[in-house]
């Protein structure tokens, strides 16, 4: 009984404050928005579990309420008007999320795969197409060595020179010829 009376009081207050806000009373508007925040959160949490997402939706509801505040008729219940906006925007947010998830994928290996060079190298070796691997295998020894060191293992020219004992310019020439040969071979396929 006491709860119902309190609810009725709240409804009357909210309705009065909203009517005042429509006439430009900023203090009443701020009081109203702060006071109805727990109510909005309770509606948003029916559709959104995580606190972050729920808060995003609550903010969206507040902006929507502000945008359509001219549609409130003080002769009608405020809570119903507010609850409809809150549910509607919560559902819209769910739909938006569904659409985003349909076009985007969550890759839990993205960090290791693409940000860490070592992991990247490992993945790219696995991802290489058999055609490219076969083409590299047909290259003369010097050219194949240049591709493996400079492109697959991503060594610098100086590092590759130190490892093989070949000059930097010899490695450059081998790399250039290897790329030309691979390009011609893969184009021909």
């Amino acid at each position: 009984m006491a709860d119902r009376l309190q609810g009725q009081d709240k409804e009357t207050d909210w309705s009065r404050w909203m009517a005042a806000a429509q006439e430009g009373d900023r203090a009443a508007y701020e009081r109203l928005l702060k006071d109805c925040l727990p109510f909005l959160r309770s509606i948003a949490s029916r559709y959104h579990r995580t606190a972050d997402r729920r808060e995003d939706v609550v903010q969206d509801i507040l902006l929507t309420l502000h945008r359509v505040r001219h549609t409130y008729d003080p002769a009608r219940p405020f809570t119903h008007w507010l609850a409809t906006i809150a549910s509607r925007r919560s559902i819209d947010a769910l739909r938006r999320r569904g659409r985003t998830e349909k076009t985007e994928i969550f890759d839990d290996q993205a960090y290791e795969t693409f940000s860490d060079p070592e992991a990247n190298r490992e993945m790219s070796v696995r991802d290489e197409t058999p055609a490219l691997q076969a083409a590299i295998a047909t290259l003369p020894d010097g050219q194949r060595e240049a591709v493996e060191l400079l492109k697959l293992r991503e060594l610098s020219l100086i590092e590759a020179s130190q490892q093989t004992g070949k000059s930097v310019s010899a490695l450059k020439v081998n790399m250039h010829r290897a790329l030309k040969a691979l390009r011609a071979q893969l184009k021909g396929d």
Binding site: A21, Q22, E23, G24, R26, A27, Y29, E30, L33, K34, L37, E55, V58, Q59, L62, L63, T64, H66, R67, V68, R69, H70, T71, Y72, D73, P74, R76, P77, H80, W81, T84, I85, R88, R89, D92
Partner: protein, 218 residues
């Protein structure tokens, strides 16, 4: 309260200018319908064949069809206005259904009757192409005027609002069409009418979808 929500509330409240309260949707719908009636009173005499129309009204089935057309238009427009504001029941969307059944049922029956009476002629093109043009032609300005009115409410679910608005303007356009329409409607005529109404509803719904996709906060 998280600081960002608190800041947002302070920001919203600080920028809150007085707003002009929207009138009740039924009243707005009536204003719009009165405007359309006034436009009809000016435009209809230019193309109407009142002798033909008077002859047709002697047939009670035509009068039922006419009433169904007009009532569908009026009911769909009222439903669109009601649903354009947040706190109205979604059941308003069903308001145009009974007159729509009456309209389609009586049109279908009239076509069937003509098919029996006229034989194969019942399947021939009547004034189909002209009817199609008239319905789409009338619906266009009515639709634009309706969208301007409905957009004032910034509907949260613009697609059903737009689809009902489309049905409303198509119904009213079909009603105007009856003032200069040959009595022997064929199934193909009915098909053309349905196609025209479908196009108007689809075009309005597209506007609704666009509106929904571009729902922006001020």
């Amino acid at each position: 309260m998280s600081p960002s929500t608190e800041q947002l509330i302070a920001q919203i409240a600080a920028g809150a200018e007085p707003v002009k309260r929207l009138r009740p949707p039924l009243l707005r719908a009536l204003f719009w319908l009165i405007g359309v009636a006034a436009m009809g009173a000016i435009v209809i005499p230019f193309f109407a064949d009142f002798t033909l129309f008077a002859a047709k009204t002697r047939d009670p089935k035509f009068v039922i069809e006419l009433a169904g057309t007009l009532l569908t238009g009026v009911a769909a427009v009222i439903a669109a206005f009601e649903l354009s504001v947040p706190d109205r029941s979604p059941a308003w969307a069903w308001l145009p259904l009974p007159p729509l059944i009456l309209w389609l049922g009586s049109s279908g029956y009239n076509c069937w009757r003509d098919w029996i009476t006229l034989g194969d002629q019942g399947w021939q093109f009547g004034e189909s192409a002209a009817c199609f043009g008239t319905i789409v032609g009338f619906s266009l300005p009515l639709g634009v005027a309706l969208i301007i009115f409905l957009a004032r409410a910034k509907p949260l679910a613009p697609v059903p609002v737009a689809a009902l608005g489309g049905l409303g303007v198509a119904g009213l356009a079909a009603f105007f069409l009856e003032f200069n329409h040959p009595i022997d409607a064929s199934f193909l005529d009915l098909g053309w009418h349905a196609a025209a109404i479908g196009i108007v509803i689809a075009a309005s719904s597209l506007w609704g979808r666009w509106r929904q996709a571009n729902w922006r906060h001020e």
